[in-house]
């Protein structure tokens, strides 16, 4: 079978977010980059499905030239090939992102049995690119999946809900968005990294349509304004902690 997984390069923010002067992005001068943990689980799942059943896995991203780093990382984990839709780094809205992904899938002859996404992108969190792709291609779509098993021509999917799991069984081809917890992703090995350098990577440069969900600027939310009360140092702080718990009525 053929599996596609779509990932998005995002800055790896740490303890405090700093914005660029034009407020259009997070300042990344001191930051690395990554993809969403949800998408990492999608990549791991794609690799496992191909290891178990044969076929080919593809990773796709729409992002700046530097996003090749994330594609090579995913190929180091075991994905067979990559597609890079190269942008100038500006924000693409979810409609435009979905349309560009659909164009790739169509131009490759709609050959994917499973098209995987993260449940939501780490930065924008639009909760919709996958659903738009599914409708454009006329495919069923199940979201937020934490259990996936292929059985012949269909796939059984489990979604965590309050009080249990909802189960869906859909025929393939299908679109599925996954959540972290689906599996425990592996780390790339050194030989994996070497192999990844030689794996095929196709690039193209789509034109960005005018955004219809148009980002104007980023804003830092107001800080907590809290000044932590130091209860003490080391084990000697224990009585003060118990005092707080008692005050809160938790003992």
């Amino acid at each position: 079978m053929n599996v596609l997984i779509c990932v998005k390069r995002v800055p790896l923010t740490g303890g405090k977010i700093v914005l660029t002067e034009d407020e259009q992005a997070i300042s990344t001068r001191h930051l690395g980059f990554t993809i969403s943990p949800h998408e990492e689980c999608g990549v791991e799942e794609a690799v496992r499905l191909i290891e178990a059943g044969g076929g080919s896995s593809t990773v796709l991203t729409l992002g700046p030239p530097e996003a090749e780093e994330q594609l090579r990382d995913m190929m180091a984990i075991g994905v067979d090939r990559a597609v890079h839709l190269v942008t100038d780094g500006g924000e693409w809205d979810p409609q435009a992102t979905a349309a560009a992904i659909v164009d790739v899938i169509r131009s490759e002859g709609e050959r994917y049995d499973l098209i995987l996404f993260g449940n939501e992108s780490a930065d924008a969190g639009n909760f919709q690119v996958a659903i738009r792709v599914a409708h454009a291609l006329g495919l069923p779509c199940v979201t937020g999946v934490k259990g996936l098993s292929v059985d012949g021509g269909s796939v059984r999917l489990e979604q965590e809900v309050a009080g249990g799991r909802d189960v869906y069984v859909v025929p393939m081809p299908a679109v599925v968005t996954v959540k972290e917890g689906l599996n425990l992703p592996r780390y790339p090995s050194v030989p994996g990294r070497l192999r990844a350098k030689r794996k095929p990577l196709a690039t193209s440069t789509p034109a960005r349509p005018d955004p219809r969900l148009e980002m104007v600027r980023l804003v830092l939310p107001p800080g907590s304004g809290k000044q932590a009360e130091v209860l003490g140092h080391g084990a000697e702080a224990a009585p003060a902690v118990v005092g707080v718990l008692r005050e809160l009525g938790l003992l």
């Binding site: 909802d166 932590a228 130091v230």
Partner: protein
């Protein structure tokens, strides 16, 4: 201006918040309910004047539920369609957006009508906000959890009920819930716990969690952890607190050996109080903490447990 709200569950605070938010935008509030067993009494209290009840769609099927709302929108031409910023709220609204090829804004904090509409929405699970313009009609959006507090109206109007039977195609019914497997519950759940004691990379190993578990048990609470811990395989992902883990709202969150990355804090913003235990006085978690203990968790946590035992036996 008419606003149509997809009400997932009127007894749920997030649906009540979505209705409260909607009243800030429109003066006529319609609700759409799908697969609801009975007409919930609470709708009028949150300002709904007309409730549209879709018949014949009991099992959850996101594309079919969206199709029902698309038909309703064609008939009632609301200026905005919104839902709660829950898994299903976001999913159903995204299907409506995809079917109608309109833009949709997830997890909005506020919106002002206009051409285009101006809104503020959350990014990074709430660690960052975005001002944006929405160029579509009707406005399609979901309401970020806790963007507003749920408020009832002073004088509820009489609720008018309108049942309708949407014409849903089989294609829209392919992805539907066909089975509900119930959870095997082990102890207090993270989402409901009054106390959550969480460990991060600073715990050092899977075995190191014994001290965290002991304290959680003494307090009748649940154990949580950071992503560094789940990635290392020390705890299952079901314990993870954060942007891609569970969002919690305990009376107190006790974070041990956690640095306070924005993605972790996105999951515990709902905690009423936060106590952080960390030897690094500069750790960013202290900027959001109410109480701080500077020190090694392997000394501090057992000392707290011993102190609780002492207090209880006294």
């Amino acid at each position: 201006m008419t606003v149509l709200v997809f009400v997932e569950n009127i007894d749920d605070e997030l649906s009540q918040q979505a209705l409260t938010f909607a009243r800030g935008l429109g003066d006529e509030l319609h609700a759409v309910l799908i697969g609801a067993p009975a007409v919930p009494a609470g709708l009028a209290a949150y300002g709904v004047s007309i409730a549209h009840l879709a018949a014949g769609l009991d099992a959850y099927a996101p594309a079919a539920w969206a199709q029902a709302i698309v038909e309703l929108v064609a008939r009632t031409t609301p200026a905005a369609v919104m839902g709660p910023g829950t898994d299903r709220g976001n999913e159903v609204l995204a299907h409506i957006a995809a079917k109608t090829d309109q833009p949709m804004a997830a997890n909005c904090m506020s919106i002002a009508a206009g051409d285009p509409a101006s809104l503020v929405r959350v990014r990074w699970g709430g660690s960052l906000l975005e001002e944006a313009r929405l160029h579509g009609s009707p406005m399609l959006l979901t309401v970020a959890p806790h963007a507003v507090a749920a408020e009832m109206v002073a004088e509820p109007a009489d609720l008018v009920l309108e049942e309708f039977t949407p014409s849903v195609s089989n294609v829209d019914l392919i992805a539907r819930v066909c089975e509900r497997a119930s959870a095997v519950s082990a102890g207090v759940s993270l989402t409901d716990a009054d106390v959550v004691v969480s460990g991060g990379r600073g715990v050092g190993s899977a075995a190191g969690f014994a001290v965290i578990e002991e304290l959680a048990e003494l307090l009748g609470g649940a154990v949580g952890c950071s992503r560094a811990v789940t990635s290392a395989g020390w705890r299952p992902h079901t314990d993870q607190v954060g942007q891609t883990g569970t969002k919690i709202s305990p009376e107190i969150y006790i974070a041990c050996g956690i640095s306070g990355a924005t993605q972790h804090m996105a999951g515990c913003k709902g905690a009423k109080k936060l106590l952080a235990i960390n030897p690094d006085g500069e750790a960013s978690i202290f900027a959001s903490a109410d109480y701080a203990v500077i020190g090694d968790l392997h000394e501090v946590v057992p000392a707290i447990s011993a102190e609780i035992r002492k207090a209880r036996s006294a």
